[in-house]
């Protein structure tokens, strides 16, 4: 059983091809400064555990759309690879036509990754930054495990199953840093995405409502 943080249906093209349902788990080894799902560290209040079968029953309602569009289930979080056993069992009982994807930091033990390799259609990896100092400052931990896991994973799956994401993180990395990160993985012939964080001037927002 696992504690599930959210189940977001009918996502179109944002978490993999086709129509997808994003299932997010609690807990993550990273403590990213700008984490959009900071709630993932707070599972103390959550009482509801799901079995893989219960989750399957819930998401089955979109089975036809998944099959028509090449979509399926994307597991995220938090860090979904802290729930490897759950995902393994889910993949075992889910329709084989569904694409099962993982959105992950890949910063976990290898034995959490290896069992899922045959069954995951796509690995969407949030690299953050290949520079360990920058990575550590932003997330609180080293990227050594992530890099080691990436090296192993690349040898075991075809490149079209890999999607690497490189954020421009205000205050943490520069465009030059992102270029260096891309350079480090240039030998991996897979999808690579560079994207910007949307940054809001919170001081200006506070002034608008009279808080500053």
């Amino acid at each position: 059983m696992s504690k599930i943080m959210g189940i977001s249906r009918l996502r179109t093209g944002t978490d993999g091809k086709g129509i997808t349902t994003l299932v997010t788990f609690y807990n993550c080894p990273l403590k990213c400064k700008y984490c959009i799902n900071n709630k993932c560290h707070d599972d103390e209040w959550v009482l509801t555990d799901y079995t893989p079968k219960e989750l399957l029953n819930l998401v089955m309602v979109d089975d036809s759309y998944f099959k028509m569009s090449g979509g399926g289930i994307t597991f995220g979080g938090g860090e979904p690879l802290l729930q490897t056993e759950f995902i393994e069992e889910f993949v075992r009982i889910a329709p084989t036509e569904w694409n099962i994807r993982i959105e992950t930091s890949l910063n976990v033990k290898w034995n959490a990754i290896e069992p899922l390799i045959p069954n995951i259609s796509q690995w969407i990896i949030d690299i953050k930054d290949m520079n360990d100092d920058i990575y550590k400052e932003y997330t609180g931990i080293s990227n050594a495990s992530m890099k080691s896991n990436l090296k192993k994973l690349v040898k075991l799956i075809s490149p079209e199953r890999l999607h690497l994401r490189f954020p421009n993180i205000p205050g943490y990395n520069s465009s030059e840093d992102v270029e260096k990160s891309l350079d480090e993985v240039k030998h991996i012939d897979c999808k690579k995405e560079v994207f910007d964080y949307i940054f809001v001037d919170t001081d200006a927002e506070c002034r608008k409502i009279g808080w500053l």
Binding site: T24, L47, Y197
Partner: protein, 367 residues
């Protein structure tokens, strides 16, 4: 919708200028039995007669004298509420401001909405205890907005009056949104909502009893009427939510046509119906899901190798500010009823249409 305040509220009382805009719907509970001031003449007053007594009304919860006296005015209150089934009770850290809410909880025909404010941490244990006792039962309530006064660094040298002025500015901006969002709830009779300050919107909890704490306020327990170590349990089948989106209706139309094509391709007798939903759409609804489940069950009667799934093309997008947005931009619709917090969906409409409609779906809607 009727709005009820109590005269002795700290934040919500009859002097709050926010209420002037809604004057004809405001009901004020007064315990002071005096001639009305000029500003009071625009609201409706319930003058609660309290017997003269010596000493303080020690018990601030439902056995208090004030509550029992207010109970004597229930008929009068219902008469003023009249045919309005929606009632918003604005209360704050003054416990007696919750009395109208507790009274109306006993009336089945009223759809109650509550705005409440947690006592300051430095208030007396008695006051905090009474308050907690009053909010322990949130049954028969459609929506709850629970806030606490955040004391920031800049407040530390302020006098209490200045502090409340600061709070006032904040709620002046918030209240019209709350009012509008509650109006969106009118047609959803089987749902309950809790206001999430992180999202800036009501969360559709969509379960039958109790509430779950889903905002980040430390230690604010709303017990609901399921008692499980002080926390309400959300029914599992209701945890999955659709988030309203600006292209929701477009997506709905695409999926409806896809269902029709799926049925046609597999020789399944099928007639889709229009669901008259007015508001922010998430691309599906109970009616659409019912149709989807029907098709799935019909397809199970066909051998797997004989089933046909027409192609539905959805483009994958590299969308900036994906799952690490510091804050999402304000979406087009001003009223958002959102699901359980999860990664915020990107506003697909900002990047043009993300749904490519294949030829077999490019038909006139009346075909």
């Amino acid at each position: 919708m009727k709005i009820i305040v109590s005269e002795d509220g700290h934040l919500w009382n009859d002097k709050n200028p926010i209420l002037e805009q809604y004057a004809e719907d405001v009901i004020v509970i007064s315990y002071y039995m005096r001639e009305p001031y000029e500003h009071e003449k625009k609201y409706k007053y319930i003058d609660v007669k309290i017997p003269a007594m010596l000493g303080m009304d020690e018990n601030g919860a439902l056995t208090s004298i004030r509550y029992r006296c207010l109970n004597n005015h229930i008929e009068e209150l219902l008469e003023i509420i009249d045919w309005d089934s929606e009632v918003l009770v604005l209360s704050d850290n003054e416990s007696s401001t919750l009395y109208p809410y507790k009274l109306l909880q006993t009336i089945d025909d009223i759809r109650l909405h509550l705005w409440t404010v947690k006592p300051f941490p430095f208030e007396s244990r008695k006051r905090i205890s009474v308050y907690n006792e009053l909010v322990a039962d949130l049954s028969n309530t459609v929506s709850v907005l629970a806030m606490r006064f955040e004391i920031l660094e800049k407040h530390r040298n302020m006098k209490m009056g200045q502090f409340f002025e600061d709070i006032q500015k904040q709620i002046e901006e918030l209240f019209p949104q709350i009012y509008a969002q509650i109006r969106c709830m009118y047609d959803h009779y089987d749902r309950k909502y809790f206001f999430d300050f992180n999202e800036g919107a009501y969360i559709d909890t969509n379960f039958e009893k109790g509430f779950i704490q889903i905002d980040n306020y430390d230690g604010f327990d709303l017990l609901g009427d399921i008692d499980d170590e002080g926390l309400a349990v959300m029914e599992k089948e209701n945890q999955m939510f659709i988030t309203p989106r600006s292209d929701g209706k477009e997506l709905c139309n695409v999926l409806k046509k896809a269902r029709n094509e799926l049925a046609k391709a597999n020789g399944i007798e099928f007639h889709t119906e229009e669901y008259p939903f007015d508001g922010a759409c998430g691309g599906t609804c109970p009616k659409c899901d019912e149709e989807s489940r029907y098709l799935i069950s019909e397809l199970e009667k066909i051998r797997a190798e004989d089933r046909v799934y027409p192609q539905l093309e959805i483009e994958e997008r590299f969308v900036s500010g994906h799952d690490n947005e510091l804050q999402t931009e304000v979406e087009d619709e001003p009223f958002r009823l959102m699901g359980v917090p999860g990664p915020m969906p990107t506003n697909d409409s900002k990047n043009g249409k993300s749904i490519k409609i294949p030829d077999f779906l490019r038909r006139d809607s009346d075909e």
